[in-house]
């Protein structure tokens, strides 16, 4: 179903209808992209770091099962209870059973894309748990009953005036207030209360270390740390691909992560957890949820290397101009347009086409995932599954027919050059020409490249 109301083009059209807002969104992300560029170019061995990170991930994948077992053994030695979940439902069940066992009513959470993927919050709420997202951006989207539109900047689509309205309604801030300092301070007080009342803290995992059986969590706000240093229960949920073999590997990934994500030299807090506090419990839930299927695929397994920095989103001309929600996917942008259609090709068949194949995502990816190649390959997969719309297929067939016949190409080229010069404007830019809606053709040249080249050769 390529052109439904939920497809990327349809939702992107809604987003771009507010032109001013779309431009504001574009600029906000480009600002982050520029910060990333300054940081990357200040590290002389940046490319070596990317290659090393990619090689470490490639090696880890080739021994994934062994490393997971090693991680489990070492984590157990540290007093951590390790759980395994084959899918989202089992993950949610495990988390709930731990919370039930300890009569947890109030849970504080730090950012975890995995729990978004598993729809943990609605599941826990249905079972009577009070769940509070503590990352400021996530708290804003939670209060607005939305989902994050970006994996690092969850509220990048929201204006400060709207945050002000939301906080006025939920936190009792002054009406009309929009100063980020004032609003952040209000959230600090509101969330401190929640941290102190919580019975358990849940976090994601940035990196898990097989050699030492511990995990690393990176935040700027310190919300993960507060959330797991006050209550007695810490639950950390990780996709199995978060694994690294050695502690020393962290040096490579911590140098890349924050620089790529937000243009910082490192996140404020890079916390290494290797066991519960005395008298407390620490749980780690290792989740598959389709990842072993992706590992099977030689074409797409590299997408599992993703460290969720969001650099591909910040640079993507389509993401910046269409907004994260138009992807209808927990992970939007270039990497989401690979990962999500692998799992749900019918529902997300429009995503690999939300891409101009410009390759900028591949250039910025800190672990060198060949994103634009994968997006292209995904189009072929969708074609084989017959999930590509008729009009797209027809125009591609037409183009292939013309491009493979020199005489036809020359004939149509000449006709077009002539026609474009003389056709009245309303005939070209009419409602039937979807392409011409936001685009303008360049002035048609008088002669083709072939003609110019032939003339030039003759003059020599």
């Amino acid at each position: 179903m390529p052109h439904t109301s939920q497809s990327h083009p349809a939702l992107a059209e809604k987003f771009t209808a507010n032109r001013e807002r779309a431009q504001w969104h574009d600029k906000a992300l480009w600002f982050v992209r520029e910060k990333r560029d300054r940081m990357a170019s200040s590290v002389p061995e940046w490319e070596l770091l990317r290659e090393t990170a990619s090689a470490i991930k490639r090696h880890t994948q080739s021994r994934m099962a062994d490393y997971l077992e090693q991680f489990e053994t070492n984590a157990a030695k540290n007093g951590i209870i390790v759980h395994w979940a084959i899918d989202a439902h089992e993950h949610n069940q495990i988390v709930l059973s731990i919370l039930r066992k300890h009569n947890v009513r109030r849970l504080v959470k730090s950012k975890s894309m995995l729990t978004e993927e598993c729809h943990l919050n609605p599941y826990l709420e249905k079972h009577g748990i009070d769940v509070v997202d503590t990352d400021l951006g996530e708290r804003i989207v939670q209060l607005r009953k939305e989902t994050p539109s970006h994996i690092v900047l969850p509220a990048i689509h929201i204006k400060k005036e709207e945050v002000g309205e939301c906080f006025h309604e939920h936190l009792g801030t002054e009406k009309g207030a929009s100063d980020p300092n004032y609003l952040t301070e209000a959230a600090r007080h509101h969330l401190r209360e929640r941290f102190c009342q919580a019975d358990a803290g849940l976090t994601g995992v940035n990196f898990a270390i097989a050699e030492t059986g511990g995990i690393v969590i990176c935040t700027n706000e310190g919300n993960a740390d507060l959330g797991v240093s006050l209550p007695k229960i810490h639950i950390a949920c990780m996709g199995m691909e978060k694994l690294l073999p050695r502690a020393a590997d962290l040096s490579v990934f911590l140098r890349l992560l924050a620089r790529s994500a937000t243009g910082q030299p490192i996140t404020t807090y890079s916390s290494h957890f290797h066991g519960p506090r005395p008298g407390c419990e620490m749980h780690i839930v290792i989740v598959d949820n389709g990842r072993s299927e992706i590992l099977k695929s030689p074409e797409f397994r590299q997408s599992l290397d993703c460290i969720r920095c969001g650099a591909c989103m910040n640079t993507c001309p389509v993401y910046r101009r269409s907004g994260g929600h138009s992807y209808q996917s927990t992970v939007p942008g270039p990497i989401g347009s690979v990962l999500t259609p692998i799992q749900t090709p019918e529902k997300h068949s429009s995503l690999p086409f939300a891409c101009s194949l410009c390759g900028s995502c591949t250039d910025v990816c800190p672990v060198k995932i060949p994103l634009h190649h994968q997006l292209f390959a995904m189009r072929e997969v969708l074609d084989q599954k017959r999930l590509i719309g008729a009009s797209k297929k027809f125009s591609m067939k037409l183009a292939a027919g013309v491009l493979s016949r020199t005489w036809l190409f020359n004939l149509l080229g000449g006709t077009a050059r002539l026609a474009l010069r003389w056709t009245p404007r309303f005939l070209i830019y009419n409602p039937l020409n979807v392409w011409g809606r936001q685009r303008e053709l360049p002035d048609a040249p008088k002669k083709s490249f072939r003609q110019l080249y032939a003339e030039r050769q003759r003059r020599k």
């Binding site: 906000a28 090696h59 690393v216 240093s229 910082q264 807090y269 890079s270 290797h274």
Partner: protein, 229 residues
């Protein structure tokens, strides 16, 4: 003839409607299922890169200046002093210290404590700490980060919950980059350890940087010569 209707396809594992799924026992063989699925999918083996700490990694002519500069860039402050007493008198000039009602220091000679940590078993009781002075092990020049460990303080929440934070580190404990740092520290010996680089911050509202999200609103790093032994 079964009573399954055409528009309700049979499930692989039919669940009777009276069973609450959340109360069902968790399938114990998920672990083995996942591991065997992974083993069936493993790509060709590929070598693990060697990460020599001396590597071709970035170093600085003046790592001390670089550390101070980056820490300032991320909202913190580095102060080099020769003695603990000097750090102590510098602290008196910090208005956040002077006005702090609840103060904790675990570094003898620097600051003082208004509460006795040994009488506080519950970390929640540290909610009102205004200023904490804690120990750090190592400074990293490239990113302005300080390595801290939970063995020097009874409640690790003290790294996160105080309104303001000062960390005292031997001045000689300074490395150029993270590769050198990981070669010097031992990972896995501490239930909590980590890098802290500057005060807590967020830019979640329209990309405007705000210092003091949930954790410390300021971070001072004292690099002390006297502690080099």
């Amino acid at each position: 003839m079964s009573d399954v209707t055409a528009d309700a396809p049979p499930q692989a594992f039919p669940v009777p409607p009276f069973v609450d799924a959340s109360k069902m026992p968790i399938m114990p063989d998920s672990r083995n299922q996942i591991l065997s699925k992974i083993r069936a999918a493993l790509p060709q083996s590929s070598p693990l890169p060697d990460l020599a700490p001396q590597g071709p990694w970035q170093t600085f002519d003046d790592p001390e200046a670089r550390f101070a500069e980056v820490l300032k860039f991320v909202g913190g402050q580095a102060v080099r002093v020769s003695t603990l007493a000097e750090a102590h008198s510098h602290l008196q000039t910090n208005p956040a210290w002077a006005s702090g009602k609840v103060r904790v220091s675990v570094v003898p000679g620097v600051g003082d404590s208004t509460i006795d940590l040994s009488t506080i078993p519950d970390p929640h009781d540290l909610e009102n700490v205004d200023f904490a002075i804690l120990q750090g092990q190592l400074c990293v020049a490239e990113n302005g980060a300080v390595w801290v460990q939970d063995d020097t303080v009874r409640h690790r929440v003290l790294y996160f919950i105080p309104q303001h934070l000062a960390i005292v580190v031997p001045s000689a404990a300074l490395v150029h980059n993270l590769h050198e740092a990981y070669a010097k520290i031992t990972i896995g010996q501490h239930r909590f350890a980590g890098f802290i680089s500057g005060p807590s911050k967020t830019a979640d509202i329209e990309q405007s940087l705000v210092i003091g999200a949930h954790g410390a609103r300021s971070m001072t790093v004292y690099r002390v010569d006297e502690l080099n032994s």
